[in-house]
Each structure stands twice: as structure tokens, then as C-alpha cells.
């Protein structure tokens, strides 16, 4: 997928000025935030569950090579074919290759962020294979000129019902309806024949179970089940970090994921696919391919950001992020928005393509407070900022001012003089109403806010004067 993360500022500005988007984003706060809170409270000791989730993911990552080998061995034993892709291009080539070798003309897809990461649809189309997105949200995006998703769980959260009504009316040529149930039925009726006529289904995998060699997807719509049941070939594309050891470990993560994502105790469907059909089993694909993507993950594993690989893609961090709530997912400019994206995008797509992202958070810590596997997201973003400083990637003005400020703060006498001057200067700027309307070099602040002026003397001065008095 094309990356626009360095345009974050401009995109965020557009987002703030877009009334439809602002209306749509309200729902993040209204639906997801209380949903997660209620589900966590209802569970009982949700904190213990989060601890267990963190430990399970850590255990998987500590021996990731061995769990993957075990996974592969079991998957092959059961008749699946396992492919390894070092990057997006290789993953696309593998999947296009499978399609071409089997004369596949049409593919039905269930929602897969990894396939977005790879830009798989473009690769399929270039090879003459038609991909049909079947998740309602992804379908809406696909018929809207291949718009990218803005949320990893709810890809069209940025759209209002009105916009969907207009789009369906324009693309389906049916009478315009604003009834959400009717819109869903319209999509269902258009997509059902695609499921029945497609040669291949592509899904992601929320988890890979090493014990059994299974892929697991969690869905609500049932399109994931259709994609993995009806066509004669099933391809599951996912990241190498998604492996978990046992079915017991899986059970814990399946308690965490939907509660954290949408507040559901379980998704409608949890589908575990293992190998190909046995004798007599009339449904299910004849071929089952599993594509394991690296694309930067093995590098992250050895970096200070390795905790990010625990992520189970619930979206809670973005749902609870005040910045995401304000600007939505498109501002982040790639597949993964919000705090998890601010960590992942520079890692997967290259820091030079996403150097703004680690700075796009206030550090409020709400994301890590809700993360089901306790990823310290603000800390990881801070580490990325350190990496940028070490690599000399920050603008010289910023580096210089930090160094100057740091140097003066380490020279107490100099600092005292500097702040005394600043206090007087700022007081003067404040004038009679003690408010600075325009701060030199501080337009970022005063474009939207006044800056309350100080009293004119520093505490240090006043305290010294008072001590001398006594």
C-alpha cells in the first residue's frame, strides 16, 4: 500500500475541517470506548486476563522460530502448504502464482490488514485476477475507488450512513435507501453469487496455533467462513508473529480480542481451519495455502520495539486515542493508524517514510491502559524518537533548541538569568489582559489558543528575595 505518513500534518488538518468525518468519528467514543469498558467490567478480573495475554504472546515470541517450525510441521502434516514471504512483493508473487497455476479468475477476500499492507489487490488485478472484498466495510471501500481503510477493525468508521447510501445508489443503480438493514441486504445479495462462483478465497489469520497447525479467524459477518469454505482454494495470509502455542493459549486471547475490540464477549464466528478435507467431507477447499509474511517483523523482534509484536490487532489503542478520535485513521497515511500504527509504520515501511508518526501522540497513556497485551505504546513511540535523534533524523532547529535548553538547564546560574529574562519578556507580551495572543516561534500554540502570561518574576527570584527578608 502506498504510504503518505509524512503528510500527517496536512491530512490531520483536512480531517479536522471535515464535518462528515467529525460526525462519524464521534461513534468511536460513543460505541467502542464504553463497549470495551463494560465488557472488561463484566468479565471480572480483566487485569489478570491482560497479564495472561501478555505472557502468552511473550512466550510465543521468545521461541518464535521453534513455534513457527512446529506450526509448519503440523500444517503440512494435515495437508496445508506453507509459504514464507520475506516481504510484501514476495507474498504477492506467491499468491498470484497460486492463482495462475490454478486458473483462478476471481478471488473472494475476507478482511485482512496484512493484505492491505502488501497491496495484494493491486498485484492480483495486475495479473488479471479479480479480487472481491466481501467484508461489508472493505466492500464499501473497494467500490469507492479503492479507498483505504481508516480503522483495522471497522474499516469505514469514517463514513456516515448518508455517504454509504449515496455510494450504493450510484454503484448499484438501485433506489437510494438510508435504512442500514436494507443497505446490508443489498450488499449481501450482490456478494453471495461471488462467493459461490469464486475460485479462490483469501483470508488473513488472527492467530496461528502451533499445536495443531491451524489458522484462526474471528469475524462477525460470516464472510470469513464463506471465503474459507466455499471456494476450492483457500489462501491465508498473515504475519509470522501471529503464532500462539496451544489451544488453551488461543482461548485466552479469544477472550481478550473481541472484548477489547468491540466489547463483545466473543465474535459471532471463530473459525479454525486445519489442513484440507478428509475423505467423504464434501465441503471445504481442496487446497489450503498459508503464507507467512516477515516484512520487517523479524527485525522488530531484535529491536527495542519488540513488544509491539505482541499486538493482536484489536484496535483498542486507536479507539481510546484522543488524537485518533480527533483526526481518524486516514491522517496516519498507511494501513495501521493510531498508536499501534505509529509504532509499526516506521518499523515496517521505513522510518524515513513515517518520521512524523512517533510524534503524533500526546503521551497520555490511554492506549497502554487498555491494550489487551499490555504493550507500552507511548514508551515505544518515545524509543522511536530516540532512534530518530540517534540517526540525525530530527530537524536541526529542534536538535539545536533541545541542546541549548538542556545546556542552560544544567547551568543553574545561567538558567536563573534566562528564566528571569523570559518571565519579564512574556509578561510584557501579555500586556494589560495578561494574555499572549501571538507567541514568537510559538504559532503552533497561539494559532488556536492564547498563552497566559506569567507574573513577571520567577519563583527562584521571589523565593530568594523572601529568604533575604527574613
Amino acid at each position: 500500500m502506498e504510504i503518505h505518513s509524512n503528510d500527517f500534518k496536512a491530512r490531520a488538518r483536512e480531517a479536522l475541517a471535515n464535518p462528515n468525518l467529525q460526525k462519524a468519528l464521534k461513534l468511536v467514543q460513543v460505541k467502542f470506548v464504553p463497549g470495551r469498558a463494560a465488557a472488561a467490567a463484566e468479565f471480572g478480573d480483566f487485569e489478570a486476563l491482560r497479564d495472561a495475554g501478555r505472557d502468552i504472546r511473550n512466550r510465543a515470541l521468545e521461541n518464535l522460530d521453534l513455534w513457527l517450525e512446529r506450526f509448519e510441521q503440523e500444517a503440512i502434516r494435515r495437508g496445508a502448504r506453507v509459504h514464507w514471504a520475506r516481504d510484501a512483493a514476495e507474498a504477492n508473487a506467491i499468491i498470484v502464482g497460486i492463482a495462475q497455476a490454478n486458473g483462478v479468475k476471481k478471488v473472494v477476500k475476507s478482511k485482512s490488514m496484512v493484505s492491505e499492507e502488501c497491496g495484494l489487490n493491486d498485484a492480483l488485478e495486475a495479473a488479471g485476477v479479480t479480487p472481491v472484498e466481501t467484508d461489508l466495510g472493505e466492500y464499501i471501500l473497494q467500490i469507492n475507488d479503492h479507498e483505504p481503510p481508516s480503522h483495522i477493525v471497522a474499516p469505514v468508521i469514517h463514513k456516515t450512513r448518508d455517504e454509504v447510501s449515496d455510494l450504493f445508489h450510484a454503484k448499484h443503480g438501485k433506489p437510494r435507501t438510508e435504512d442500514i438493514g436494507a443497505l446490508c441486504r443489498e450488499a449481501r445479495e450482490i456478494l453471495r453469487p461471488h462467493f459461490l462462483s469464486a475460485d479462490m478465497g483469501i483470508s488473513g489469520a488472527n492467530f496461528l496455533v502451533a499445536e495443531t497447525g491451524s489458522t484462526v479467524i474471528v469475524t462477525n459477518e460470516g464472510n470469513g467462513r464463506l471465503c474459507t469454505t466455499v471456494p476450492r482454494i483457500h489462501v491465508a495470509l498473515t504475519g509470522i508473529e501471529k503464532v500462539v502455542p496451544t489451544l488453551e493459549d488461543l482461548s485466552v486471547l479469544l477472550r481478550l480480542l473481541p472484548r477489547s475490540a468491540t466489547g463483545q464477549p466473543i465474535t459471532n464466528y471463530v473459525s479454525m481451519n486445519t489442513g484440507v478435507a478428509g475423505s467423504g467431507d464434501s465441503d471445504g477447499p481442496e487446497q489450503f495455502h498459508i503464507v507467512l509474511l516477515d516484512n520487517g517483523r523479524s527485525r522488530v523482534l531484535g529491536s527495542e520495539l519488540k513488544e509491539m509484536l505482541r499486538c493482536i490487532r484489536c484496535g483498542a489503542c486507536m479507539n481510546h486515542c484522543p488524537v485518533y478520535q480527533a483526526v481518524g485513521g486516514h491522517a496516519y497515511g498507511w494501513v495501521y493508524p493510531g498508536p499501534m500504527g505509529s509504532v509499526l509504520t516506521p518499523s515496517y515501511a521505513g522510518m524515513e517514510h513515517a518520521h512524523e508518526l512517533p510524534h503524533t501522540a500526546t503521551g497520555c497513556g490511554q492506549c497502554s491502559a487498555v491494550c489487551p497485551v499490555r504493550i507500552p505504546l507511548p514508551e515505544l513511540m518515545r524509543k522511536e524518537r530516540e532512534m530518530q535523534v540517534e540517526a540525525g533524523l530530527r530537524p536541526w532547529q529542534e536538535r539545536l533548541s533541545l541542546k541549548l535548553w538542556g545546556w542552560s538547564a544544567s547551568q543553574s546560574w545561567l538558567y536563573g538569568i534566562g528564566t528571569a529574562i523570559a518571565a519579564r519578556f512574556l509578561k510584557r507580551l501579555g500586556g494589560a489582559d495578561k494574555l499572549i495572543h501571538r507567541l514568537p516561534l510559538g504559532g503552533g500554540w497561539t494559532d488556536g489558543r492564547d498563552f497566559p502570561a506569567p507574573a513577571g518574576k520567577t519563583f527562584r527570584e521571589l523565593y530568594r528575595a523572601r529568604k533575604n527578608l527574613h
Binding site: T360, L402, S410
Partner: protein, 242 residues
């Protein structure tokens, strides 16, 4: 109790009264308070910006200046959080410094937390009369668990009514340098905070971190609200200062 007051650089420059108020409250709580003269900043801006070297220089200086006191108290959840929650990571490569940092962290407190849980202050002298709404600053809340402490202290004041705002725990958009780098997003978040706060009809918005308060007040004033007071909790609790 021998307490060192860490004024914080924002209070030093922008609102000395916050530090004087803290001083008054600590003395009332029976503490012997000292204000180490050479203190400047805890290093948080550099740390958050990724300038580890600068942050480490300042952390070393803070440790030099403040170790040896029984307690270190700060009128800021964010700066207290820096020492308590982040110095360990910052100093991890220097075992000797790390040991000192951990020791310092263990005796460092945010002001209201200290007054309630350590000094067990019984009554407060503040004479504010009216309604207030309390903004929970992020670092204090999520790094140090500052939630009930300020409310408990404000509750000791007879004529204060606390009107809770919705989303009291949501960030006001300050975020240190974030407020400058992403001014329009920061302003939007400040707007949400002001709306929620003003919806309570409270006379004053009170909080424990000057950064948030400057941000909230700045947005309020820009929108033309000259009436709603924006106060640091220490100022409210301490009342008149000599």
C-alpha cells in the same frame, strides 16, 4: 519530615504562586521544607523528544540535588511521574546511577498524593467558595494513580462543590511539545476539554499540572471566556499567600 520541594520549571517561570502554595501546604502538614537552590528541570522535555543524552545530564543533576532528603515533593504529576516512572529506564546503563535513581524514585511524590497518603494533612486553609470541576492530568492519573487525592483534599474545604465533568480522564491535548508541533489537533482536544468542563457550569477548572492548565486556560480565553477560573489545585487548597 524533611522534604525537598521540586518547584518544576513551569511553576518557576509561569506561576510561582503554585510553588508558594505547595510550600505553605507542606509546612502546614508539619514538614520541614527545603528548596534546593540550584534546581532547574527534571529533563522530561528532552526525554520525551528522544534526546536521551540531554535528559540523562539533567536527571544526574536532579539526583545530585535531591537525594538525601526524606521526601521529594512536586506540584506536578507529570514531573513526579518522570522521576518515579521513567528515571529507571533513563539510567539503566549506569548501575551506580540507577541505584540512586531508584532510591530517589521511591521517595518522590506528587503534592496531593503526598499530603493525603504520607503527611496525612487534616485540614486545608483554602477559602475558595464555589463550584469546581477537576481535570485529571494524564501522567498523574495513569503513572501515579492520582485520582481521589486532590478530590479528598478539596472535599475538606467547606464551601467547595465538585462538579465532575464527563471525560475528566481524557487528555486536554497539551502533551508538552505536542502542543506546538500539532497545534491544531492540540487545540481541538483542548476544545473538547473546555466544552466538557464548561458544561458542568463550574466556577473554576482545577488540575494538578500547569501544562494542562495553561493549555485549557489559553483555549478558554481565546474563545472569549474570561469568567471561568483555571487554577492549580495547590493554589485552591492553600488560599491566601503571604
Amino acid at each position: 519530615m524533611r522534604v525537598a520541594l521540586f518547584v518544576t520549571c513551569l511553576a518557576d517561570l509561569m506561576r510561582p504562586n503554585v510553588a508558594f502554595a505547595a510550600l505553605k501546604l507542606l509546612k502546614l502538614a508539619g514538614c520541614t521544607v527545603e528548596v534546593p537552590e540550584t534546581q532547574t528541570c527534571c529533563g522530561q522535555p528532552a526525554y520525551n523528544s528522544g534526546d536521551r543524552a540531554t535528559a540523562l545530564t539533567l536527571a544526574r543533576k536532579v539526583i545530585d540535588e535531591f537525594e538525601g532528603y526524606e521526601y521529594v515533593v512536586l506540584p506536578s504529576g507529570s514531573c513526579a511521574g518522570m522521576i518515579r516512572a521513567h528515571y529507571e529506564e533513563l539510567c539503566k546503563d549506569d548501575p551506580a546511577l540507577l541505584a540512586r535513581a531508584k532510591k530517589l524514585a521511591a521517595c518522590t511524590y506528587e503534592l496531593t498524593d503526598f499530603l493525603v497518603n504520607v503527611a496525612k494533612l487534616e485540614s486545608v486553609p483554602g477559602d475558595f467558595a464555589g463550584s469546581i470541576t477537576y481535570h485529571d492530568s494524564c501522567s498523574g492519573l495513569r503513572e501515579l494513580g492520582i485520582k481521589q487525592q486532590p478530590r479528598q483534599l478539596l472535599g475538606k474545604m467547606g464551601q467547595v462543590e465538585i462538579k465532575e465533568m464527563s471525560e475528566a480522564e481524557t487528555c486536554c491535548g497539551f502533551g508538552g511539545t505536542f502542543s506546538l508541533k500539532f497545534g491544531d489537533i492540540s487545540t481541538k482536544l483542548a476544545d473538547n476539554k473546555c466544552e466538557n468542563a464548561c458544561a458542568t457550569g463550574a466556577d473554576a477548572i482545577v488540575g494538578g499540572d500547569l501544562g494542562c492548565l495553561l493549555n485549557i486556560e489559553g483555549r478558554l480565553r481565546r474563545k472569549g471566556d474570561r469568567k471561568t477560573q483555571v487554577l492549580h489545585v495547590a493554589e485552591v487548597l492553600a488560599g491566601k499567600l503571604d
